[in-house]
Symmetry: D2
Subunit: 436 residues, 4 copies
């Protein structure tokens, strides 16, 4: 990558996650010698941007790496001639997340930021904004890579693949976290662990888990109740018969499908007591920003781990360093399907292992066919995602209704309609394409 001064723009730079990312950029500076780091936010996020930006500058200074940190509300300035544009936005901020969680609960349906009706609402708000950012990249930095961390990552990545016209990879920290946990369980170095990662974002399974050519699936199964769980999802016991029949380890988000009733009970209980996850996060963020204000702080605070984005910066920096260095290693990313999962549309986004080189991410063919029950679930959720993207892009009520009616976690078409009406009503100012 022949570039004068390596430039990265972070859209949503005022996020509480940003210190995590900055730490990664510092630690891997020898592999990825970034010079210009633009943190961008919108007017409503100015204060957070300034706090986070100041911390970022202190971190860079303490580490003595030659990164210049720029803070701006001017997205075009940040994107102009960038090499990488990282998107980590939250349209409507945390209050919208809380609504996404509470509306479905009102219908006895799961309310979650990325899965089910909550993720649907988030997607409707986010897709148009992300496509605007893609348009800026097309205009101002056509050779840049867009690296997307914004949830629901699978939908957002697919929207950009279909309508964005820019080079685009979607990232999630779930695969890298799973690799870490398994390495720890198996007591080996992370680099020695490998698996096939099958599925789409937040709906995937690890299989062929191995160290060298030794199958360690039995070991993992025996320890699996703690495997692959993430901060915002309660750990429940997997049904061992189901897992052995699947021949795989489900990601933690599959609890929403495989243990729907229990998860719903937990969510409702939590909503009544400490609040929904979004409400909890609001409190955590408040604490984090108080910490960030401390002018002595020049490193990522320990408390950020509670926020839920473990390994986020590792995933991001490994990806961009491999593109930068044409490294041709294997990473787990969200990319265009092609024929890797031949039972999904070619232009769908999927989350699988891929070779990363200077020209992007090239998914690797799976070794074995995908079992029927994984296939069926992936197909129906992907169809829901396609409908959601079309609904968001066109502002089409009928397609939105079809999307929500089809979602396996929405229990009925009638419920879908009522829920949709509430979602539209409560997000009216954030959904201009529906209320033009």
């Amino acid at each position: 990558m022949a570039t004068a001064a390596l430039k990265v723009a972070v859209i949503g730079g005022g996020s509480s996650y940003t210190p995590e990312l900055v730490e990664g950029l510092i630690r891997h500076h020898h592999e990825f010698p970034i010079q210009e780091l633009y943190l961008v936010d919108i007017e409503e996020g100015r204060q957070k941007l300034e706090l986070v930006g100041a911390l970022a500058r202190r971190m860079v200074e303490k580490a003595a790496v030659p990164i210049r940190v720029h803070l701006t509300l001017n997205r075009q300035e940040a994107i102009h001639d960038a090499d990488f544009v990282i998107t980590q936005i939250r349209v409507g901020r945390l209050p919208a997340r809380v609504r996404d969680e509470r509306i479905p609960l009102g219908f006895d349906c799961l309310g979650q930021e990325t899965t089910g009706a909550g993720g649907f609402a988030k997607a409707l708000r986010t897709v148009p904004v992300i496509l605007d950012i893609a348009q800026d990249i097309q205009n101002l930095a056509p050779n840049a890579w867009m690296i997307n961390f914004t949830n629901p990552t699978g939908i957002i990545t697919e929207a950009v693949l279909k309508y964005g016209g820019v080079k685009n990879i979607g990232l999630c920290n779930l695969a890298i976290g799973t690799r870490m946990q398994i390495a720890e369980m198996a007591g080996v170095d992370r680099a020695l662990v490998d698996f096939e990662w099958v599925g789409i974002n937040h709906l995937n399974w690890a299989r062929k888990i191995r160290v060298g050519d030794t199958d360690i699936m039995p070991l993992v199964w025996s320890m699996l109740n703690n495997a692959a769980s993430v901060k915002n999802i309660p750990a429940l016991d997997w049904n061992p018969v189901l897992l052995k029949s699947l021949g795989a380890i489900p990601c933690s988000y599959l609890r929403y499908y495989y243990m729907t009733d229990e998860m719903l009970r937990d969510e409702k209980q939590q909503a009544r007591t400490e609040g929904t996850r979004g409400e909890v996060v609001q409190r955590i963020e408040q604490e984090l920003f108080e910490l960030y204000q401390n002018p002595q702080l020049a490193e990522k605070p320990k408390q950020l781990e509670q926020r839920g984005g473990a390994y986020y910066s590792l995933a991001a920096v490994e990806l961009i360093a491999s593109i930068y260095s044409d490294r041709r290693d294997v990473q787990t990313v969200n990319v265009r399907n092609g024929h890797i999962l031949p039972f999904l549309p070619a232009d769908a986004s999927i989350e699988v292992n891929a070779v990363i080189d200077a020209t992007g991410a090239h998914p690797i063919q799976l070794e074995l066919p995908v079992p029927t029950s994984m296939r069926g679930l992936l197909q129906v959720v992907k169809a829901y995602e396609e409908l959601t993207i079309e609904a968001a892009v066109r502002g089409d009520y009928g397609l939105a209704l079809e999307a929500l009616t089809l979602h396996p976690l929405v229990t009925s078409g009638d419920t879908a309609r009522e829920m949709l009406d509430q979602i539209l009503e409560q997000n009216r100012s954030l959904l201009p394409r529906f209320f033009a």
Copy 2:
């Protein structure tokens, strides 16, 4: 079809439906000159067989057509050298149906004979018996056509396509009934109405509804709340926005998916009051068999219409007459998919329009792609059906659990497991492959 004396065997011949079929065979005798009609049943059905058989003989005699009616408990004798074998069995009889309906209701899930967990239980019981019948046909009448009316027809047909080794077409009266209703609505002869029938058994949509090259979809939409409803499904108002967005008319069974909550409420209410559909049918059947006993009765009694199988004999006789006469007309049947619905496995059964000739049913390519939300629903339900067939054939608990967990009308994986355990327990004597 060069055959000395046209022979038809009806497995499950003691069914209360049989007079309907016999009436059709009499009425179309000029097109399909059947000579030997074998009605077969099992020991438990002997009394019903004798009543129905006596009525059939009176009907034939009155009509003065040269059909010889044979009653037998010896299935092999009936199948030997038959030209057509019609299967209309009910393994476990109506008491099993009532259990299929009541078990899911206990979990607040829809309980229905063919759709959801009820159809799942029925499939587990029926698939092995149907494959036994197919084995008899292979041995004793390898050139015979197996015409299957046994529910869940889609699953049964697919099981025979995959494991039966005989020529096999699955039939349902839903398409022919829809055609009748639309013709009546439009005020034209049935032969002038045409549509594309898209989907799988009991999960399908009519589109491109037309008379000649005139699109009559708007007319049908305007009248649709009564369209395509069948005896055992309550009529509820379709959501017109959903239907216009789909661009199609859903079959009545889609109410279970599009209006799940209301349907569940209705079913529970009905179960508390007049009883489940199976319980109602038990009473209807009792009345019918009382009528059948009347030695003066020599025609199909009017009351049979309440039983729910309207147009059943028309569908059957049109199909076998077209095969017999190499007629090459278009009918709606359940056949091997191939690539007609390219998003389903090639060896799946689908329900679509097909050309019927002496070599069987040849499905016709659809004119337009199938919309995303139809596709997603078909894919997930078909995956459930594949798993159910494999579970039934192998007696595999894990696959049965995967099947039920995947079904969109089973609300959670945990519920699936509990429901599965009840289904297995309550059907123990009828599921030898699970309790070997």
Copy 3:
């Protein structure tokens, strides 16, 4: 088809074939009550148009059917509000055909009107003209059906499917002729004979040949050396081992592939003696037009049979009558592939059995997979056809070179280049897109 006065336009109406077509329109007038018949030609064809048109009028008058025959050089007038537009044009007329035959022979390659480099040259000339006609139809008769008889029919039909934007079916007389011959061989009525027709235009095989459910393939094989031959292809003995291995009867054009050397020897011999087929046809046409001049002649002259288009009018009239009457019978036509031949692109044209109704031609799924050697030949020739269409549409030399290099009957890439240069040079005035 609700139309005030049924109108048909024949583009290339001055063709010597036209009396054949007119005879068919007269004979089937009860099924297809055409009122306005427009015969269109270009200035260079004015004389032929007048001769043919006068004969057509005498035929109509003698038959006393209410068809008005219009002669015009104004294509738009003819197309305006037409119900059917039949295209039977020859861009560059017979002298161009003779060049198409002689150029390849100069390179020791087969020179034939539709197959090989000759068909390639004809396609380059014809595709843009056909797309102009399609444009007129779009503008002036958007509901009209375009029925194409212009060779190479497969390429022309595919070009219109891809770029024409009109309802379009391609026709060839080969399938109907084969059906006739087999019926004659088997001594049964044509309606009783059926087969699966597999392939693309002029590259297809008949299999599953049957009368009712009786396989008559052995009978046909035993008589096959005369089967399916057409006027302009010499009859050579098929290799019986090859045919049994294929399990099918090849169409006569497959002699160019299966007996290339002999066919080439024959063509070269013929070119040296009586002249190429185009030169022979020039003489036949001269004789025909002399006959047509006879004001006493009021029917299709016997001598037209030598011209080579047997059953042409039967094929055309059966097709348009079935569309007109929503007849839903099965005919063999050139249509969009979809997934009927799943190893060819979905947007390719193929020639197979299809149900014909008021909304067009709906291909029927094949019963058995296509054997490997048929598949391989179809794939390479279809790829050549796709390249030819793209080359013709864009006037792209590189694509034209790729097309000709790929064609199995062009023996080398070097030869392809030299031949291409001669073709372009000798057709310069007829290839404006290449010489813009």
Copy 4:
């Protein structure tokens, strides 16, 4: 790979190539610490085995690496518990190769060891022997990797994938050689050059040729007349228009398709003068074995380069070392297609880039669709290969005839039959399945 003592068996160990392989095993011993090297040959090859084996031992001794070299005629002993089995056999030895070259020339068709009718004959002889070896591996070393270098590699690999039941990768030195040449042209290290390798063995194209993210295609095109040529194929000028239209660099074997006439002239000329390539190789081998006899020689002699297998040992050792070390790097190999080339059967062998790890070779999805003319040629040649495998496995004359008739380099079906009869007759003792 947990193995006590790393064991490699080389079937066809008496080949003149073996010193090349041994040199590689010595040079990379730190990456792949082989301990037991079994060189196996048949009775007729005993003398060559002894000469080559003695040289191998001197090489190992001189290099002071702890490899034990075993010479044996007992294939089972060599395969027993091997970790890798390398196959480099030549059934019928060089005299059969010369016949493969001379028979087609007698029909004015290209006669070449792997391409066209020559490769066809070689495949018929070799497939059954390779499947015997696979059977030994199944029985005696079921976890071993079979690494196949035997030509025609694509066909042999596919036969093993379909019928061998062992872990199997096919190798060719063409891709690694191309990478070397391009690196040299571009003046950069080999590791910096990358490209997409598209196709099947000996019928492939390099595209997306790059250094980092810099496209160096224009540079390569400007130098391409020498690119990718191999010892046994004369260098002829590529047509630059064709190549630019393809957007790729063809491998040297594509000269047989793109310059058929010139290649045939060259071959015939060569056959008349210095002899066919097989005859030349016979002389080279004689010289090599004279050199090998020299007890002072303890390294690969310079003259081996004339033999034609440049980079053979590099390709082999890189592959087995990556499997051994679970290295997850990208190499170009022959593997099962799956859906990488979606227009070829899933069970076809293809030659593409793949990630190599301890569980084998995992092909990487292509970035861009394959252009139409590449696709068409690949499809027809792959169909020929499938037919050839079936013919070889079953000893089926009809399929053999279909295969040869379909091959683009066999000019006619009639020629195919005559050539097939000569091939069978002249290989009678080597084709037991055809003469059982």
